[in-house]
């Protein structure tokens, strides 16, 4: 049987992390959102056969995780959830594209494999950076920043409520499966005969509950704007943060840094 307290805690991990205090948490949500967006755009813009030039981008999530003191393993676990999806997207590349690209001794890497690896790196980078944004900023602050960027209310609301709904759904899943386990004396898992009714129950219960939560928000004057207190103004360190990383990303995109470094260190010019 799942450990309820632990499971619930897991679900809310990102929320809980968002409430921590660190140099990164103290930055303005807008600054973090901006840098993350630039990061995503730049990572995606790398051509599909580039790997070495992409590598310096890893520095960003690494440094932020360290500065914000985020727990690495739980974050990685969440990244792994999307891994099958990513593999699914990329797996056809090596099968379809056999042209050789580089040879490392006896091993020849085809264009297909290179693009597969590149897709994997890009996906993992984008997912983990998005998670980091949530874990260092909190969903409500991100929503606030999005509103500041004049993103339409309806989209922001959609995002927020979906995010809330996931939590509600997971909680109901845990409670339902626990209730089931308690009354099904030692049977492991859920008997397939009960899947239908259990799933139906779950759907109805979560919709119901989401509805009630939304109602209670409306009862307290909710009009579609999430007000999470005063938004601080951008200060010098926020601008420096944005400027530094944006520059770094642009330089990484424009020059192949690892290769440049290699040539400088070894003095061999290609």
């Amino acid at each position: 049987m799942v450990n309820i307290a632990e499971a619930l805690d897991n679900i809310r991990l990102l929320d809980a992390l968002g409430e921590e205090k660190s140099t990164v948490h103290a930055l303005h949500p807008l600054a973090k959102l901006f840098v993350t967006l630039v990061f995503l755009i730049i990572v995606i813009s790398f051509s599909k056969h580039e790997i070495s030039a992409l590598l310096p981008m890893v520095l960003f999530p690494t440094i932020i995780i360290t500065l914000a003191d985020l727990p690495v393993l739980p974050l990685m676990k969440r990244v792994l959830i999307v891994l099958p999806l990513v593999i699914g997207i990329g797996i056809f590349n090596p099968l379809l594209d056999h042209r050789p690209m580089v040879s490392l001794g006896a091993i020849t890497l085809s264009y297909g494999w290179i693009s597969f690896i590149s897709i994997m790196i890009k996906c993992l980078l984008t997912v983990i950076t998005s998670l980091i944004l949530i874990a260092t900023t909190g969903m409500t602050n991100i929503a606030l920043a999005l509103r500041k960027l004049k993103v339409p209310k309806i989209f922001v609301l959609q995002l927020l409520l979906t995010y809330r709904y996931i939590t509600v759904l997971m909680e109901e899943v845990i409670l339902t499966t626990t209730a089931y386990a308690l009354r099904s004396s030692g049977i492991k898992g859920i008997h397939f005969k009960h899947w239908g009714s259990l799933l139906g129950q779950l759907l109805i219960r979560t919709i119901d509950r989401a509805q009630r939560v939304y109602t209670s928000m409306c009862c307290r004057g909710f009009d579609g704007n999430y007000n999470t207190g005063t938004m601080p103004t951008l200060v010098a360190k926020d601008y420096i943060f944005m400027l530094f990383w944006t520059l770094f990303f642009i330089i990484t995109r424009s020059f192949n840094l690892p290769m440049l470094l290699g040539t400088i260190l070894t003095g061999v010019y290609p």
């Binding site: 619930l8 809310r12 939560v213 209670s216």
Partner: protein
């Protein structure tokens, strides 16, 4: 404008699945009055409260709050006047900290952050959980959640307070503190509850519901002592006024 805070005329409500939850309910709530609503499980108490706030709309009949009819258009005004604490506090707490949850209402009314803080601290102090303000609501015990949910309503400074089983899951001390608080709250209140002893303390008037109908509407002291009526509605005369033989015996001594 009518001088009633809440006026319900012949309301009937049928749930979409065809279940008739309320039949022909009429009552009024005047300034400074407090009404207790009692009735067995499933009698329709919670449904009635949801109708008053326009969360559900009656199939027949009309409701007005502070002179305004409850319609889709007037909802924002109605909800600013009435504070409702839901039967299940989990439905009410959705922010990441207790503080933010209690501040949610005041912030929606665009109060400045100093005023918001004042109200939040005050509301949390009243229900006695100021020390929990930075905790995540889902990590609280049942009673603490209840207290936080009530604080989130109090922080809005509503004109009318509607509570659905407020003392449910509170420990004796918190329950007593809440009752004391509610008795100092000078606005009209409607309290649906199974805690009959609390009604004695708080509400002069009681409405008894049975199967969606009003069985009685009158002075709390009269109704609760009426054994035939109480039994008929699947309720019990509270211990505090029961003619229990031991006490009578003690009296005789």
């Amino acid at each position: 404008m009518s001088h009633y805070q809440i006026e319900a005329n012949n309301i009937t409500f049928i749930y979409p699945d065809g279940h008739q939850a309320l039949k022909d309910i009429s009552f009024t709530l005047s300034q400074r009055e407090s009404i207790g609503i009692i009735g067995a499980n499933g009698a329709g108490k919670s449904t009635l409260l949801l109708l008053l706030l326009g969360i559900l709309f009656p199939n027949e009949g009309t409701i007005s709050v502070g002179g305004l009819p409850v319609t889709k258009k007037t909802l924002p005004h109605i909800r600013e006047k009435i504070g409702l604490a839901f039967q299940n506090p989990d439905d009410q707490l959705f922010m990441t900290t207790v503080y933010d949850d209690v501040a949610f209402g005041p912030r929606n009314y665009k109060l400045n952050e100093d005023e918001v803080e004042k109200r939040v601290v005050q509301a949390l102090e009243i229900v006695g959980i100021l020390h929990l303000k930075t905790r995540a609501p889902y990590k609280l015990s049942g009673g603490e959640k209840r207290a936080a949910a009530i604080a989130s309503v109090l922080s809005m400074h509503p004109d009318i307070l509607i509570l659905d089983e407020p003392t449910n899951a509170l420990d004796p001390k918190s329950r007593r503190r809440l009752i004391n608080l509610l008795s100092t709250f000078n606005h009209p209140k409607i309290i649906a509850t199974h805690d009959l002893d609390m009604l004695f303390n708080l509400c002069e008037r009681t409405i008894i519901l049975k199967d969606g109908q009003i069985m009685a509407d009158g002075l709390t002291t009269d109704l609760l002592a009426d054994e035939t009526l109480m039994t008929l509605c699947n309720l019990e005369v509270p211990l505090s006024i029961q003619n229990c033989s031991t006490c009578t015996y003690k009296h005789m001594l």
